[in-house]
C-alpha cells in the first residue's frame, strides 16, 4: 500500500513541467527524508492553494482572492492596462519595476489551426475595462509570434472606439545581446524599428 502511494506520488510529480519519472523519484525521496521540514508544509501549502486559488473576475489573474492583489493594489496606476496572453507573462512583467499599472490576461492567442477565435479569449472583458473613464492607455504585450501579433492587431482594432491610446511592446536586440548571436528575424525586426540618436 505504502509503495503504491509513493508510486502514485512519483507519477503525479512526473507530470509537472521540467520533471520526468527519474527526477520525480528523486524529489519524492527528498520529500520523504525531510518529512517534517518539507513534506508536511508542502502538503499544507498545496491543500491551501487548491482550496483558495481563484481566477480574478476583473483581469483573469490567478490569486487567492477575487479581485486579485494586482487589481486591488491602490498604489498601481489605474490609467494603464497591460494586456498579456497568460499568467506566466504577468509574472514575467511583474519582475520589472518599469510597469506599475493594471493587467489583463487574455487566456491565449487567436489561432486559426487550433480553432481559437476571439470569443474564446477574454477580449469582451478588456473592452469593458478600456471604456472606463480612468483608463488612458492599453499596452498590448502579446508574444512576438505570428499568432501573438495577429491577436495584438485584432485587439488594437477592437479598441479603436474606446478612446484610449493603444501601444505595443518594441521588438529588437535584447539587453546584453550580441548581434553575432541573434537570429535573422530579431535582427530584421530591430533594423526595421531603428531609431534616430
Amino acid at each position: 500500500m505504502a509503495e503504491n502511494q509513493i508510486d502514485s506520488l512519483i507519477q503525479l510529480l512526473a507530470k509537472l513541467p521540467g520533471l520526468g519519472p527519474r527526477s520525480a523519484r528523486r524529489a519524492v525521496l527528498h520529500l520523504m527524508k525531510r518529512r517534517e521540514s518539507l513534506l508536511i508544509p508542502l502538503t499544507k501549502a498545496l491543500e491551501d492553494a487548491a482550496e483558495n486559488l481563484t481566477t480574478c473576475s476583473t483581469c483573469g489573474n490567478i490569486d487567492t482572492r477575487d479581485p486579485c492583489g494586482v487589481c486591488t493594489n491602490p498604489k498601481r496606476n489605474d490609467a494603464l492596462i497591460c494586456v498579456v496572453e497568460d499568467v506566466a507573462d504577468l509574472w514575467a512583467l511583474e519582475k520589472t519595476p518599469a510597469f506599475r499599472g493594471r493587467f489583463h490576461i487574455l487566456g491565449g492567442t487567436l489561432s486559426a489551426l487550433d480553432g481559437i477565435g476571439p470569443e474564446d479569449l477574454n477580449i469582451a472583458g478588456l473592452l469593458k475595462r478600456a471604456r472606463e473613464d480612468v483608463v488612458q492607455e492599453v499596452i498590448v504585450a502579446t508574444n512576438a509570434t505570428v499568432d501573438g501579433q495577429t491577436t495584438a492587431h485584432y485587439i488594437a482594432e477592437r479598441l479603436n472606439d474606446c478612446n484610449v491610446k493603444v501601444s505595443g511592446l518594441a521588438h529588437g536586440v535584447p539587453i546584453g545581446g550580441e548581434l553575432d548571436y541573434l537570429d535573422e528575424g530579431t535582427l530584421s525586426a530591430a533594423l526595421k524599428a531603428r531609431h534616430t540618436f
Binding site: 513541467p17 521540467g18 487567436l110 486559426a112 489551426l113 487550433d114 480553432g115 477565435g117 512576438a144 509570434t145 505570428v146 499568432d147 501579433q149 495577429t150 492587431h153 485584432y154 488594437a156 482594432e157 521588438h171 537570429d183 535573422e184 528575424g185 530579431t186 530584421s188 525586426a189 526595421k192 524599428a193
Partner: protein
C-alpha cells in the same frame, strides 16, 4: 531515409517541453510534418515562426514515419510583418488555407512556388492581388480551376463580369443580366496578367475564391468552412474599402 528540401513553415505546435511538431510546405514533398527537437526552446522558436523560409533536412526510419527535421532559416518573413496588420492577416490566412486544404505528403510545387511569391510580395503593396491569384491557383491545382476564358453561355470573350456559382466559368454582362443576383462578381484584374486590383475588386476576388474553396475543398473537410484567419482577412479588407 532522409532528404533535404526548400520549405516554408506553416505551423509549429509545442510537443513535450522543448520539442515542436512543425508542419512545412516543401517544394518536393508537399505539406509534410516532422518533429524538431528543441523547436519550442528559446533558440529555435524564432526560426520556426510560420511564414519563414527554411532549408529542411528530414530524417526518419521509414517514409511513413513522422520523422524529425533540422531546419535552417533562409528568409525570416514573419519578423518583417509583425507591425503590418493587413500583411500579417494575409500571411496567417495563406498558411492556414494551405495547411488545411492540401493533403499531406502530396507534392504541389506550383503551390509552393506561388506561396513563395506571395510571401515575397507581402512587404510591398500588391499582395492582396497576389493572394487572390494564389487562391485561384490553389483551386486549379486541386482540380477545381475556374475558367475565365470566355462566357459559359454565349462564348464571347468581351465584357466578362460574372462567374457562374455552378460551373465556375465566366459569364458576360449580357448573358448574366437576368441572374445577376445569383452570380459572383468577376473582378477585372483576374482577367489580365500583371494587373493589381482596387480594394473593392480584391474583396470581390476573395468572395469568389472563398465561395469555390468552401464548396469544393473545405466543404468536404471536417471544419466545413474556410479557416478563421481567412475570414478575418476578408473582414479586414472589407473595412479598408
Amino acid at each position: 531515409m532522409e532528404w533535404s528540401d526548400q520549405a516554408i513553415v506553416l505551423s509549429a505546435r509545442k510537443h513535450g517541453e522543448t520539442s515542436a511538431i512543425v508542419t512545412l510546405m516543401t517544394n518536393t514533398y508537399g505539406v509534410h510534418a516532422g518533429l524538431v527537437r528543441g523547436g519550442a526552446g528559446k533558440r529555435k522558436r524564432g526560426d520556426l515562426q510560420p511564414g519563414n523560409r527554411v532549408e529542411a533536412h528530414w530524417r526518419g526510419r521509414l517514409a511513413e514515419h513522422l520523422g524529425s527535421y533540422v531546419c535552417e532559416v533562409h528568409e525570416a518573413h514573419a519578423a518583417l510583418l509583425m507591425d503590418e496588420p493587413d500583411a500579417l492577416a494575409c500571411l496567417s490566412a495563406a498558411l492556414a488555407t494551405c495547411e488545411s486544404a492540401l493533403p499531406e505528403r502530396e507534392p504541389h510545387p506550383s503551390i509552393f512556388a506561388g506561396l513563395g511569391i506571395l510571401l515575397a510580395s507581402l512587404e510591398g503593396e500588391d499582395w492582396p492581388s497576389v493572394y487572390v491569384k494564389w487562391e485561384l491557383g490553389l483551386l486549379g491545382e486541386l482540380g477545381f480551376g475556374l475558367d475565365f476564358s470566355c462566357c459559359a453561355s454565349t462564348g464571347v470573350t468581351e465584357n466578362l463580369i460574372y462567374v457562374s456559382p455552378k460551373s465556375g466559368r465566366a459569364v458576360s454582362a449580357e448573358a448574366g443580366k437576368i441572374y445577376k443576383n445569383k452570380m459572383l462578381k468577376l473582378p477585372p484584374f483576374l482577367l489580365r496578367e500583371g494587373v493589381s486590383g482596387e480594394p473593392g475588386e480584391i474583396v470581390d476576388g476573395l468572395v469568389l475564391t472563398g465561395y469555390f474553396l468552401e464548396r469544393h475543398v473545405f466543404g468536404h473537410l471536417r471544419s466545413k468552412s474556410l479557416p478563421a484567419a481567412r475570414h478575418r482577412l476578408l473582414e479586414r479588407l472589407r473595412r479598408n474599402i
